[in-house]
Every structure is written in C-alpha cells, then in structure tokens.
Amino acid sequence: MWRGTVSAAWSTITTLTRRFLETVVPPLVMLALILFVWQILCGRPGATLPAPSVVWAEAGDLVMQPFFDNGPQDIGLGWRVLVSIERVLYGFGLASIVGILLGALVGQSVYAMRGLDPIFQVLRTVPPLAWLPLALAAFRDSNPSAIFVIFITSIWPIIINTAAGIRNIPQDYRNVASVLRLNPLEFFVRIMVPAAAPYIFTGLRIGIGLAWLAIVAAEMLTGGVGIGFFIWDAWNSSRLPDIIVALAYIGLTGFVLDRLVGMIGSIVTHGTTAS
C-alpha cells in the first residue's frame, strides 16, 4: 500500500518533470541562443542598436521594478501596461457585447445578413489607425478615441465568428426551442450563446489579439500614460534600451491576454463541442 502510494507519487513527479523539461526548457535555450547572437551582432563598435548587455545596464531597473511611481510621467512599466490593459478592456468589453449581439442578428436573420455582411466585410479591412482621426474629431479627447479604436478593431472577428456559430446551430436545437416555445430572449441565452460559444470564443480570442496590437499604436499617437506612449516618448529622447524592454512587456502581456481568453473559453465551452 505504502509502496503503491510512493510509486504513484514518484510517477506523477516524473511526468511533471518531463512536462516541465519539454515545455519550458526549449524556449529558454532558444532565448539564450538569440541573446547570444544579438550580443555578437550588436556588441561590435558602430552597431546601431543596443546589445543585450547595454539594455540590461541602462534599462535593467525597468525590468526589476515594474511598479515604481515617481510622479506623473515617471512610473514603472507594470503601471503603464495596466493602464493600456484598462483601455483595452473597455474597448474590447464593449466590442464583445455589441459584437455578439450584432453577430446573433446577422447569424439569425437572412435579411440582416444580406444587408450587413458586405458592409462588415469592407469595414473590417480598414486598418485600426485609420479610424483614429475620425475618432479624435468626434470625441475631442484622446482616451475615448483610443477606446473607440480598440472597439472598432476587435469587433469584426467577434461579429463574423458569432454569426458563423449561430448559422451552424443544428436544426435539432432550434426544434427543441420551438417545441418548448422559448421566447427570443430565452432562445438567445439558453440556446444561441451556449451552442455558438466555441465560435464566439474564437472570435473573442482573435479580437483581443487585434485590440492589443491596436492599443500600442493608438497610444503612440494619443499620448497618456500607456505603454504605447512610453515607446514614443523613449524614441523622442533616444532611449533605445527602454524601447526594447517595453517591447518585451508588450509581447508578454499580449501572450497572457491571448491565453487568458483561450482558457476562459475552454472552461466555458467545456462539453459544448462534444455531443
């Protein structure tokens, strides 16, 4: 009995170790390799970009202290990222609600589909920043404009995927709903959303990725305390190492946001896909 428990625990440990080795070690090795090559390329005299050692020497404090706060424009990158995330959450949250509702409309009604789908297909190709001047003109303030750019960037994949999900709801579920005489609201909540959830989350995941791409660009133009403006500011005062650290922050945050939505999706849609 004892021996059984011990060997079971042992095998758990070995599988965990193996999984750790398989998933964490390869990227670390590659990272070290990239840093090494980078160091060699940019360590020579006359190099235009800073080498990793220079970045570490000049901007290491930004890495080690994400949350310092020395007054209005002198705060840690962690704070800046949080400010940007806040904007993204407003814009993206709004886009999720409107996008799912519009997607439901387009997916459910052939006429809405015929009327709106071509318009959506055209609008979705407009680059995020092209909306910014209009938004600035309309809102006369940079913060709502940035949020609007996030909204308009992330809404299209949400609409399109939700509509696809709703068009793919099996007739059987619709029959069940009509035998039970579900009203439109009940149908939306009890049947449409859960049945289309895998599609909706695909849209949300694409949407949050685009939103994060757009916020950095939008903030470079609108100012404020977000991470995007930090890059612009660093460029204007020629602090290249700071920019490189900020890029790492942006990349990691985008990765975490993507995984987060993916995780929520797989928890929420658990059991939906299989029948």
Binding site: D172, N175, V179, R181, P194, A195
Partner: protein, 265 residues
C-alpha cells in the same frame, strides 16, 4: 365512434426548392383516439418524419389541416412533445438540466421551485435515469440519451407524445429494454402516442394500430392494421401468439411484397 382526439385531415405536404416542387405526402387522413398508441411504419425516406413534424407543428402543412382536440395545430408546442430520431439533448446542459429546462418552461407558472425539482426527478426516475442526473449527454450511452429525451418529453405532460424512431440507432437488447419502459409508461399514464418505426416487431408489440405508408414521392397511407392483443403484453409469450404472428405477417407482406423498397424513390 367517438370524436377523434387528434385528426390529420386530408393533409399533403410539398417541398419546393429552386422552382422545383416535390410532393412528399399526399392526402393523409388519420384519426387517433385519446390514449391510443399508433405506430407509423414505412420505408426509409417515405416521409414519416415529415408527417410527425407536421403534427408537431415544426413544418407547416401545404394543404389540409391537423386538429388536436378540435383546435387547429399551427405552431410547435409542449402539448405535442417530440422525442427526436437523434435524441437532440442540449450538450452543454446536464441530464437534469435538460429535463429541468422543459419543466421550468412548461410548468413554471403552475408549480413552485420544489415541485418542479420533484417533477424533474420523478420523470428521470420514470425512465430510470435519476442516477445519472449530473452527467452530460456526451458522458452517457445512446440508449441513456434516448431515455433522457423521453423523460424530457414526458415531463411536458403532452397531449400527444411523438416518437420519431426513438430506438432506431440502438442495439437489440437496449431497444427491448426501452420498449418495455415505453409500454410500462404508456400503461400507467395512458398517453396518446404516435411512434415512427422501421421495426415490424416493435410496431406490433407496442401499438394498438399500425399505419403503413406507401413509398414516396407522394406517399399515402396504404393500410391500417388493428392490433387487438390484450395488454399488458409480454414479448416472450407473444412470439407464439397467433394474433401477433398474423399481424406481423400482414405488415411484412405490405412492406416487402406490395410496396417493396424502390431505390430510385
């Protein structure tokens, strides 16, 4: 004869697609008494599901009318609960929640929360599925799914219970089990049932009348056979019963001699 409970009156059904119209059902007439168990049998594709969907109100009739208690059937509703050919439970809900959704929707106004819970459990017990109430449809077998589908339909207390080949996809043993369940439930609740089947034995064992349909397109009711076997029926004893054997032969003769399956149909 008393006035029929459910009346399918000169109903025909055509589907049109791309300017082409095909008549699937032609001049169907059928009267069903309260508490009667009617089986509909016919070759694949003849329009059995279509007929059941018409009664359910899921598709509109082309001509004619369907009357339930002398009121015209125009839209789907819980008074004509249907167990679908492929169970169609909602996969994101547990077994309990699937039945409870129907109970809440149909009895929400009349019953309290506690009563609705009890009624849900009661119907799950009726089909012997209470033990799996927290499982999701993906976690239970095909036979169990059909049981839950049946519980969901029964929980609506329908005037007419519509069964579309509910056991078609199951193995013989499971099928026999479920047939016994249906007979037991029919005996104790006295539901009016229309059941579609491919299976001659199932039709004879369960029903009071067997409606035999000709092949499509434009399928009609070919013959109607009364099965005057006393209830309760025991499948083992019936195997040698002359009435049973005769009924079986009649149906087989209809299906395989007079209206044998035509591939082109």
């Amino acid at each position: 004869m008393q006035r029929p409970y459910l009346k399918v009156d000169h109903v025909s059904k055509s589907f049109s697609r791309g300017g082409k119209t095909t008549e699937v059902l032609s001049d169907i007439q059928l009267s069903i008494a309260r508490g009667e168990f009617v089986a509909i049998i016919g070759h694949s594709g003849c329009g059995k599901s279509t007929l059941l969907n018409l009664v359910a109100g899921l598709t509109p009739v082309t001509t004619g009318g369907i009357l339930l208690e002398e009121r015209e059937v125009a839209s789907p509703g819980p008074d004509r609960a249907i167990v679908f050919q492929n169970h169609s439970l909602l996969p994101w809900l547990t077994v309990y929640a699937n039945v409870r959704l129907a109970v809440d929707k149909v009895h929400g106004k009349k019953k309290s929360r506690r009563e609705r819970h009890r009624w849900t459990m009661h119907n799950l017990e009726l089909v012997q599925m209470a033990h799996a109430k927290d499982k999701r449809p993906a976690e239970i077998s095909g036979g169990m799914k059909q049981r839950v589908g049946l519980a969901r339909a029964l929980a609506m207390e329908p005037k007419v219970l519509l069964l579309d080949e509910p056991f078609g996809a199951l193995d013989a043993l499971t099928r026999a089990h479920l047939q016994d369940s249906v007979m037991r439930i029919h005996a104790s609740l006295g539901n009016t049932v229309i059941m579609i089947t491919h299976d001659v034995d199932e039709a004879v064992l369960l029903s009071d009348r067997i409606v035999m349909m000709t092949n499509g397109p434009a399928a009609r009711i070919g013959e109607v056979l009364d099965v005057s076997l006393p209830r309760p029926r025991e499948r083992l004893e019936l195997a040698a019963d002359p009435v049973y054997v005769h009924a079986r032969e009649e149906v087989l003769r209809f299906l395989y001699e007079r209206h044998h399956f035509v591939e082109a149909a």
